[in-house]
Symmetry: none
Amino acid sequence: MSLTRRQMEIYDYLVDNADHFDHPPTHDELCRALGLRSRGSLHKHIQALIQAGLVQPMDRTHRGIRLVEEARASEGIPFLGTIAAGCPIEAIAQPETMQVPEELLAGRPCYVLQVSGESMIEEGILDGDYVVIEQRDTATNGDIVVALVNNEEVTLKRIEQQPGQVILHPANVGLNPMVYAPDEVQIQGVLRGLFRSYR
Amino acid sequence: MSLTRRQMEIYDYLVDNADHFDHPPTHDELCRALGLRSRGSLHKHIQALIQAGLVQPMDRTHRGIRLVEEARASEGIPFLGTIAAGCPIEAIAQPETMQVPEELLAGRPCYVLQVSGESMIEEGILDGDYVVIEQRDTATNGDIVVALVNNEEVTLKRIEQQPGQVILHPANVGLNPMVYAPDEVQIQGVLRGLFRSYR
DNA sequence: TTGTTTGTTCTCTCATGGTTCTCTATTCTA
DNA sequence: TAGAATAGAGAACCATGAGAGAACAAACAA
């Protein structure tokens, strides 16, 4: 979604003057401030800003428009520790948080794990990478999931669920798929994003 | 596909001034800046750049339009477009911006490219991944760099600089290292981070 | 209640921006 | 030296952006 120049001007004006308004400005006030003579013209721009999610409408009430809260920015995702993409578990009690690109976020709660091991190397998931996991207990076949096996081992694998068995596929020619009974495997999340630092 | 001298000039101007534009420039503005009197003339050059994949067309819509994300995230790294990790270039004059984890940022100016092609697949850099590039014109041997080859082709490769030659190493058994004279290769940045979405 | 404010919808108009076209001048090249 | 490629000018076309203003309905104030 994109804005025209005029819409940006108006948005900038709103942002710059947000603290000068004790209450949200009316359209007429904005028209005067912006040098417009027609409320209708302004209204079109405002609608565009609402469409873009930059401004909150105040439906039906007569009090102008309210800026969207900036608060929700930069919340961060809990960083839960290292996942052994080959063997056992590590999960950490005190989540630090890290900033994660919005593009990687799913709608549901997410957390970040650091991968250790090379079992998913052929999917481009390397030792030391950070993975963004959407918290869920079910998955679609073909998803890459965080799976808790026999209550003692957490791994990152591609999942294939069949009647009576669950197969966890590594992506490494040196490793074989592992077959479990459904009650031995508990899905803890689905892979939604990945990032890596080359510093 | 190679560019004429004038097209290179115009492209260079766009790249150099990309950060001076708060909006993508209109044709008229570019004409003025470039000393052209006819939009039609400029249009031909722009079309050539689009053809070459150097610039993003803005079909039907007027220029002077900015992405919302840019307005909202006052931070953010310019998203410059797609880099062909196998063959030719795409780099875009009108940067969008994306939010990127601070962990991936270097001290210097950075930008984000989207990888297309599989030439670095064995390094875990897949088609469609986003790479964070630190803007620099020198690199250490072993770095993965964005290199402009012969002024017409940009690629992402591991670099090895020797007296009298520069070798660009792909990470794909199907592809061979490429050897160039030093003046054929221009380093445009060094890989600092990577992220990927599985949505 | 009545009248005013405010938000909304609509149509109309004009300016701007991108595109296509033709024509001309200059440079390059076989 | 002739033809091709490159560059620019400028006219014409059409979609989009932007604004004006009228009309209307809901909310508010008295």
